[in-house]
């Protein structure tokens, strides 16, 4: 069985493409529509999180902070997948506990390279 990756994004089409890419590569995928939904669905089986930044209810930065507050998920890789590319925002993400930053649109081989590198 493949490792489980959570994709958190308010865009269903982005979640669909992330999920398609990861499942094709043999990963199991859990989808969440925003940070709040992501926290609710976060279980011990999740090995990595790929999250958007701008989302309703709970945005990516706050979501990462809350995930990092849980001892169990203190060190799992969290990648931000967002249209945002400003250095300041990236700094915020890093400060919140993000492991890396990928700007949308992603290419499947790019996303998989990141996932494979971080889940090695």
């Amino acid at each position: 069985m493949g490792k489980t990756i959570m994709t958190v994004d308010d865009s269903a089409s982005v979640r669909q493409m992330v999920s398609f890419t990861l499942k094709n590569a043999g990963y199991d995928v859990v989808e969440a529509v925003d940070g709040k939904d992501g926290l609710a669905k976060l279980t011990g089986s999740v090995s990595m999180i790929i999250t958007d930044l701008n989302m309703p209810n709970l945005d990516g930065i706050e979501f990462i902070k809350q995930v990092r507050a849980k001892a169990q998920f203190k060190f799992i890789p969290i990648i931000m997948l967002t249209t945002e590319s400003q250095a300041g925002k990236k700094q915020d993400g890093k400060a919140a506990g993000a492991t890396g930053w990928v700007v949308k649109p992603f290419k499947p081989e790019q996303l998989l390279a990141v996932v494979q590198k971080l889940l090695r």
């Binding site: 269903a12 089409s13 669909q16 701008n54 890396g100 790019q110």
Partner: protein
């Protein structure tokens, strides 16, 4: 806010009228903007699902194609060729053994000995004739002696009987010898025929094996070329699917860009209302607000047009990628069909190359069966030859007995002649002759015995070869192994033929389906029309505002517009804002940009 309220607040009637109009137009503009892209998500999800189905089908075909090239891979065919060569080498060794070249020399030796035997039997006949004559002379002499020669009548009978017995023996040996010679001649003929067959069979095997190995090599090359060609098509398909995945994310990207315009226009509405509110702060004049509206509408119009272009470009790109996948699968189907055609013997033959090899091996197997049948027939003749020689061995004793009988008769004649005294002198001469004849007979019997022993010795070679053929030439086992090889080949041929057809048909079918899907993409035209209409309304507002405040900010962005830069989330929005990007450049930033060989971690920042 009522128009009358605005008229009361704003001194200039024309400005008041514009602000009232702008307020009325901004709200529905926001609604129209939100209706243009956001509701299209369901269609994007359908396209995403279609892409997943396409990718699934492509993977199934790729799996089949890889299995197909694996079946006819160099390793698989090399291994088959090696096995075939090994089996046929073994078979050739068996054929050589079955042909038994040494049989011919044994048979020649037997025939030479039989020829000598014939001559010796001729001499034996002369002895029989003498014996017969001696018998008659003894009988005449016995009659002349009258009562004194009464004992010689019995001697004459014995001599007569012996001559008859020797004649009979001689005839028997002669008949057996002739029969044996005929058999040996037949066996020699068969042996020669078998040697020729063996040579023909070996040559045929050699040339057919060579041809088969060449065919296998050709197939292996074809398979290798097919594998490379398919690899390229598969890479094309995967690359296009990857690019299509990128294109489908542009709903989210353009939605955000349009939402930012909506937000800016909503904020403008609030700004106008605040400006017109009773007890307003007079820090900003009406014309300053109008001037800001002109530059904001111009900016948002550019953002909307850029979003529209990116959306159109993404959908167009998605269609192009689908066409790319279709072309790759169509090409893959053509490559497979081409190899399927090439894999036929002599181009237009209805037989595949593997079927040609099967037929060739079956021919070889048939030749071997026929050859072995000849070998068995020859073995039977050899057995008969050996059996006949054995039978002739029995004559040896008879011939020796004849020699002893003649000696006994000669001795008896001498004794009887001595008893008769002077009257038996003539009988003594006869006894002397019988004795001489006995000596000659002794020499002949020894020569015949020697010849018969020689023939018997040669028969051992034939008997040994015959036994060895039966014990060692297990052609059926070798044929069974070849049969297994042919069966394997039949199975590979059936499987590859079916797979060639399946992969080719599946490739064509998926290419057709993908083309239909790509040709059905029209939503971007409607989205572009809606966004273009919104941009036109923004342009109209901008022109009206610019006409009322022609100086504006002297070509510079106002501080308020500058402050909006921090609200954007996308680099392309910032570039448009700063005037360093236009709609075309924005479009170029989309998924349409097909990357070549790039580092997959490009654009990724790991902390």
């Amino acid at each position: 806010m009522e128009d009358s309220t605005i008229q009361a607040v704003v001194n200039d009637a024309e400005v008041a009228s514009f602000l009232a109009r702008a307020r009325k137009e901004a709200a529905p503009l926001c609604v129209d903007l939100s209706k243009a892209v956001t509701p299209r998500e369901a269609e994007f999800l359908e396209l995403g699902a279609a892409l997943q189905r396409v990718a699934g089908t492509v993977e199934d075909i790729v799996e089949q194609a890889e299995f197909l090239t694996g079946l006819t891979s160099r390793d698989a065919l090399d291994s088959f060729g090696a096995e075939l060569t090994q089996e046929l080498d073994r078979m050739q060794a068996l054929l050589l053994l079955a042909a038994g070249a040494e049989n011919e020399s044994a048979l020649m030796s037997i025939r030479a000995t039989l020829a000598q035997l014939g001559e010796q039997l001729g001499s034996f006949k002369r002895i029989v004739k003498h014996l017969h004559m001696l018998g008659i002379s003894t009988r005449i002499e016995s009659a002349r002696l009258g009562a004194d020669g009464s004992g010689f009548g019995t001697l004459a009978d014995d001599v007569e009987k012996l001559s008859v017995a020797i004649g009979r023996q001689s005839d028997s040996i002669s008949k057996q010898s002739q029969a044996l010679d005929a058999l040996a001649a037949t066996a020699m003929e068969q042996a020669r025929h078998m040697l020729e067959s063996q040579r023909r069979c070996t040559d045929e095997m050699g040339s057919q094996v060579q041809r088969n190995l060449e065919t296998l090599l050709q197939l292996s090359h074809m398979s290798q070329e097919l594998s490379q060609a398919l690899g390229e098509r598969i890479r094309q398909a995967h690359h296009n699917i990857g690019q299509a995945v990128s294109s489908l994310q542009f709903h989210d990207i353009t939605r955000q860009q349009v939402e930012h315009v909506e937000q800016a226009m909503t904020d403008l509405l609030e700004m106008i209302d605040e400006h017109l509110a009773p007890g307003r702060d007079a820090a900003e004049t009406d014309l300053e607000l109008v001037a800001f509206m002109a530059e904001l509408c111009a900016m948002e119009s550019r953002q909307v047009r850029a979003a529209s272009d990116r959306f159109v470009d993404a959908v167009t790109s998605f269609g192009d990628r689908l066409h790319g996948v279709a072309a790759a699968m169509d090409g893959l189907a053509d490559e497979v069909a081409l190899v399927r055609q090439d894999a036929r013997v002599g181009g237009g033959s209805p037989r595949t190359a593997l079927q040609g090899i099967e037929a060739s091996i079956n021919n070889i197997m048939q030749s071997i069966r026929e050859f072995v049948a000849q070998g068995e027939a020859k073995g039977e003749v050899m057995d008969r030859v050996a059996g006949t020689i054995q039978e002739m061995g029995a004559f040896l004793e008879d011939v020796e007995e004849v020699g002893a009988s003649i000696e006994l008769i000669a001795l008896n004649a001498s004794v009887k002649a001595a008893h008769t005294g002077d009257k038996g002198k003539a009988m003594g001469v006869l006894a002397q002759s019988i004795q001489s004849l006995s000596h000659a007979a002794r020499l002949q019997t020894e020569a015949i015995a020697k010849a018969l022993s020689g023939v018997a010795a040669s028969s051992e070679v034939l008997r040994t070869n015959s036994a060895r053929f039966r014990e060692e030439v297990h052609v059926e086992e070798a044929l069974a192994r070849l049969g297994v090889l042919v069966k394997g080949l039949t199975s590979i041929d059936a499987e590859t033929t079916a797979l060639f057809a399946e992969v080719s048909a599946a490739g064509k079918a998926v290419a057709r389906d993908i083309t239909t899907l790509a040709n059905g993409l029209t939503m971007h035209h409607e989205v572009a029309r809606q966004l273009s209409a919104s941009a036109a309304r923004l342009d109209s507002l901008q022109q009206q505002a610019a006409a009322l405040a022609p100086g504006g900010h002297a070509g510079m962005h106002s501080a308020r517009l500058e402050s909006m830069l921090g609200r954007y989330t996308m680099e392309i929005e910032r570039q448009i804002h700063l005037g360093i990007a236009n709609a075309d450049a924005a479009a170029g930033d989309s998924a349409a940009s097909a990357g070549g060989e790039e580092d997959p971690l490009d654009g990724v920042e790991l902390f």
